[in-house]
């Protein structure tokens, strides 16, 4: 890790520790925008990371952006940082200027997509985007659409549509945005190759959730390690019980594995390999979440099951994020396809890329 990355991580950690408190996270779940957190991050230049300076970015690498996201995941930061990165990277790929305001990206899926008709003074838009992260707080939304003649990327304010509030398991805003044959004057429509965009979004989104989950799993282990030394039963701290030690060791294994898997997913993305490494990393980390979260709760006993405690801020996020940008099953199918295509020489050369 170079000096710039290290500095970025130090200042991000400091901001998150100071501003992203338990109360702020809980309030956000009540629907209050975490303005202070967002502004502090924006003032420190954390929003346009991974984008060249000439497009309005701060010039740092994807690696830096993912390091920041990992911390955001660790501290449950209730702001659309990942979505803003993903959106800005898509725009930067297309040579567009990027934003340092909150933006979001509608995940392209069978139910999501809009149809646009050109008018003299704008576009008539119909269709919808479901489960869009943070849509109600986003200044811009990026989604895929179709005109009569081509696939396009649409950059629009979500307020131009009808927003139905919703949330994921962690209480993070996941809204539906609906367009009912509405004439929209202010929107940018960019012709694109839909496949390329979907692919980039799927892989960058997966890596974003991967690093966020790796951060959250690190947090889970820290919470557990602290709790087992503080809580006493039968006259000794919990960590002295072998059964508890085993849970802790298994949890450490999942956390360490997630950390390594995340590092290599980032490296693959940075090197432009939108393929097997990211698939394997997402599968491994999703699996780690399923194993680690129940163990963390078991270790904490009833207190960890309360709203009062902070454990749930992390576990509910893990349970949400693992299903976003592809489940184990979906990525397993993708990996199987890659193996069918490239596994001619056997599994070992496939796995070692050699």
């Amino acid at each position: 890790m170079n000096d710039i990355t290290q500095m970025l991580m130090q200042s991000t950690t400091k901001i998150l520790k100071d501003v992203c408190t338990k109360e702020l996270v809980n309030e956000s779940e009540q629907g209050i925008w975490a303005a202070k957190l967002w502004c502090t991050l924006a003032d420190s230049g954390m929003i346009t990371v991974g984008v060249p300076e000439e497009l309005g970015g701060n010039g740092c690498s994807y690696l830096d952006a993912f390091s920041i996201l990992r911390l955001a995941g660790k501290y449950s930061a209730p702001v659309p940082l990942a979505e803003t990165f993903l959106g800005n990277w898509l725009l930067a790929d297309l040579g567009e200027q990027v934003f340092d305001e909150p933006i979001t990206v509608a995940y392209p899926g069978s139910e999501n997509g809009v149809y646009l008709q050109k008018q003299e003074d704008g576009w008539v838009i119909s269709g919808k985007a479901n489960f869009v992260p943070w849509a109600r707080f986003a200044k811009r939304m990026i989604m895929l659409g179709r005109t009569d003649s081509e696939d396009v990327l649409v950059l629009i304010s979500p307020e131009q549509g009808r927003i139905e509030h919703g949330k994921n398991l962690a209480g993070e805003a996941r809204d539906n945005v609906i367009f009912e044959d509405r004439l929209v004057k202010e929107c940018r429509v960019i012709p694109v190759d839909a496949k390329t965009v979907v692919n980039k979004l799927l892989y960058s989104g997966a890596v974003a959730r991967i690093v966020m989950m790796a951060g959250a799993l690190e947090r889970l282990l820290e919470l557990c390690a602290t709790y087992v030394t503080e809580r006493t039963q039968f006259g000794k701290p919990l960590h002295r019980f072998q059964a508890v030690q085993h849970q802790l060791a298994l949890l450490a294994g999942e956390s360490a594995a997630a950390s390594t898997a995340a590092d290599y997913a980032v490296q693959a993305f940075q090197n432009g390999f939108l393929s097997q490494e990211i698939a394997m990393s997402k599968i491994k980390i999703n699996e780690a979440v399923g194993a680690a979260s129940p163990m963390a709760h078991q270790i904490h006993g009833a207190i960890g099951f309360t709203y009062e405690h902070t454990l749930h801020q992390t576990t509910r996020r893990l349970w949400s994020w693992r299903d976003e940008f592809g489940t184990e099953t979906e990525w397993s199918e993708k990996l199987a396809e890659e193996y069918m295509e490239n596994g001619r020489d056997g599994l070992w050369p496939f796995l070692t890329r050699s």
Binding site: A225, H239, Q245, A257, A261
Partner: protein, 384 residues
């Protein structure tokens, strides 16, 4: 809390070249029929001839100084060579312990004479070692060893016995952990030493212990007034426990802790690919993801060891998760391809399956049991 963070290692073109060379060599030998692939080959694939060929080509003692017969290659180059051998199921058990453990131990603690005498022979693939730790009454509780050496003129006289000693019947020497002072119940880890025992010396008796399959891979070793000259003491008298512990990160984090059943996984994927059944392959994808993650962790540890850092906590984690993985391979494979597992089968898949199942109980025992490892990890995690 000790850090669980590992470095990201990028394999250079130089390393790719090393991989191509060793892979090509293994392929040729398999084609010629000089070697037979098998699962768990680092315990049970014995071929003195193959070890000698590897030594001749510079693939043993790769990281050691040239003046001791080594080749001054990087840990990662060595890593690539040993993972290729394991993945192919090549017979490497003869020299495995000497290359992995004895060499680094002697480099760290050995006398000049020991290094000059042993290391070049090991690197040539001509001198094999066994690990003498376990005893009938000292298993997980290794500090309970009771084999005892008593000082005499010019050396030590050793009495006692070791058990479960892999490959002792092929090995020339054994690094033996024994007491050189009576046990102090307050300080059980003190008063132990490591001695280099010549297994051909008078007073040494080796008896086979058959595995449940009837195979002969490990042994009992008895010492009846065996004379050990002073120059065969490793490191300092009384420092045996600490010296032994220093070996453990090497012993626990290597690719042999998750590749023992890889030949079966390779056959499984080959079979599924031939069928063209993507849905079944997708069912193996989580296994591939686990394997990929373990390998990256293990490479990260190899890199840290080279920098002189001993990540013993993560090393224990890799062994715990890796050996569980090795055991799962057969459990997953048998549900995807119907087979009749048999050691004598002419089908590669059935043979690998039999070896994987029948050898699997050992994976989570040897080198420190799962239960013991988890205790070590938990202590590291809470920082005590």
């Amino acid at each position: 809390m000790k850090s669980l963070q590992l470095p990201v290692v990028e394999l250079s073109e130089e390393i790719r070249k090393v991989r191509r060379e060793i892979r090509e060599f293994i392929f040729q030998e398999l084609e010629k029929g000089t070697i037979q692939p098998r699962c768990d080959s680092w315990l049970s694939g014995y071929s003195a001839e193959f070890s000698r060929m590897l030594g001749e080509r510079g693939w043993i003692g790769m990281t050691w100084p040239k003046r001791y017969g080594g080749h001054e290659r990087s840990s990662i180059e060595r890593y690539v060579v040993i993972e290729e051998l394991l993945a192919a199921g090549a017979p490497v058990s003869a020299h495995w312990i000497a290359d992995r453990q004895t060499g680094p131990l002697l480099l760290k603690f050995g006398t000049e004479h020991q290094k000059e005498f042993f290391l070049p022979q090991i690197a040539k693939g001509e001198c094999f070692f066994a690990i003498g730790l376990s005893e009938p009454n000292a298993g997980s509780d290794l500090a309970a060893v009771s084999s005892r050496a008593v000082k005499v003129e010019g050396g030590w006289v050793l009495n006692g016995s070791k058990t479960w000693t892999s490959g002792a019947h092929h090995a020339h020497y054994m690094i033996t952990l024994c007491r050189t002072s009576p046990m102090n119940p307050e300080k059980r880890h003190e008063g132990m030493s490591q001695l280099l025992v010549d297994l051909a010396a008078p007073g040494v008796t080796i008896r086979p212990i058959e595995l449940m399959t009837g195979e002969h891979h490990f042994n009992e070793v008895f010492f009846d007034n065996v004379f050990i000259p002073d120059e065969m003491v490793v490191g300092q008298i009384g420092n045996g426990w600490k010296q032994g512990m220093a070996e453990l990160a090497y012993e626990r984090s290597g690719p042999e802790r998750f590749l023992s059943t890889f030949p079966l996984l390779e056959e499984l994927l080959r079979a599924l690919r031939e069928k063209g059944d993507k849905r079944l392959i997708a069912q193996v994808s989580p296994m591939l993801s686990r394997l990929w993650t373990l390998r990256q962790m293990s490479i990260g540890i190899a890199n840290m060891l080279e920098q002189g850092v001993t990540p013993d906590l993560v090393a224990a984690l890799v062994k715990d998760m890796g050996t569980k993985f090795e055991q799962q391979v057969a459990e997953v494979a048998r549900l995807l391809v119907a087979c009749s597992p048999s050691i004598t089968s002419s089908s590669q898949f059935d043979k690998f399956m039999a070896e994987s199942i029948l050898h699997s109980p050992g994976f989570t025992l040897r080198g420190g049991t799962t239960e013991i490892l988890r205790g070590i990890v938990a202590k590291g995690v809470i920082g005590q």
